[in-house]
């Protein structure tokens, strides 16, 4: 009776050890990209993404951030977005599309010599705000711009 209990315990211990090993094995490809904030990129909603990325959903609205994006984007798959920020000591610039399933599109870590400017092209599921978030000197600033997305490309 006692002996069978012992073997049962041993068996379950071994089983859990294997599970841990498999878990660790599955995690190895991610360790290469340790800096990539997986949770922030998978976060639903702007507030969640902001909290995961910056530790707080709050940001100060700033007029020093200029977003260049079309008022009407005919093709939501390719929306050109340029962000110019005038703050000093910029640490990062992030781009969020508010209505996307996962709003965080991109986050740029700026080196010491980088100027406050990035430009790229993003995908947008539907009409929504494009939000630029700039982290400078430990503070978080943001600005947003409405972009209308027309699917079908007939204008609108």
């Amino acid at each position: 009776m006692i002996e069978s209990r012992r073997t049962f315990l041993k068996g379950s211990m071994a089983g859990s050890a294997i599970a841990v090993a498999v878990g660790a094995g599955l995690l190895t490809p991610q360790s290469v990209l340790a800096a990539w904030p997986k949770e922030a990129f998978e976060a639903k909603g702007v507030d969640n993404a902001m909290s995961t990325l910056f530790g707080s959903k709050d940001s100060a609205a700033s007029k020093d951030i200029k977003i260049k994006a079309p008022d009407i984007a005919e093709n939501g798959a390719v929306v050109p977005v340029s962000i110019t920020a005038a703050q000093s000591g910029i640490e990062s610039i992030s781009i969020l599309a508010a209505a996307n399933a996962s709003p965080l599109c991109a986050s740029f870590d700026m080196g010491a010599n980088a100027e406050g400017y990035v430009s790229t092209r993003i995908k947008m599921g539907k009409t929504s705000k494009v939000i630029a978030v700039v982290k400078a000197g430990g503070k978080v600033y943001s600005a947003s711009k409405d972009v209308k997305v027309t699917i079908g490309g007939c204008g609108g």
């Binding site: 290469v32 399933a101 996962s102 991109a106 080196g111 430009s119 995908k123």
Partner: protein, 104 residues
Amino acid sequence: MAKGIKIRATAKKDSTTVKALMSHPMDTGLRKDKKTGKVIPAHFIQEVKCEHNGNAVLTALWGPAISKNPYLSFKFKGGNKGDSIKISWVDNKGESASQEAQIR
């Protein structure tokens, strides 16, 4: 050149503008293959590193919401004509590519 990166870097006074075009499908993992009806697995660039003479200038962390064949442009101070610009990316499947170019 399926995995090539096109780079244009131009120096103007003390500011250098770098423009780069990468070739990548950038699949979100949400789209379905029209023929088979199966979901195309997510396949997108996660990290792009930009170096000037070996010093990191900008690191872009990207999600699947970046457009297909991504475009990236940025500016930095202190570049001179002939300096090297290196751009390299890694995607979520561990594939990578890198390219070097000179500032013009």
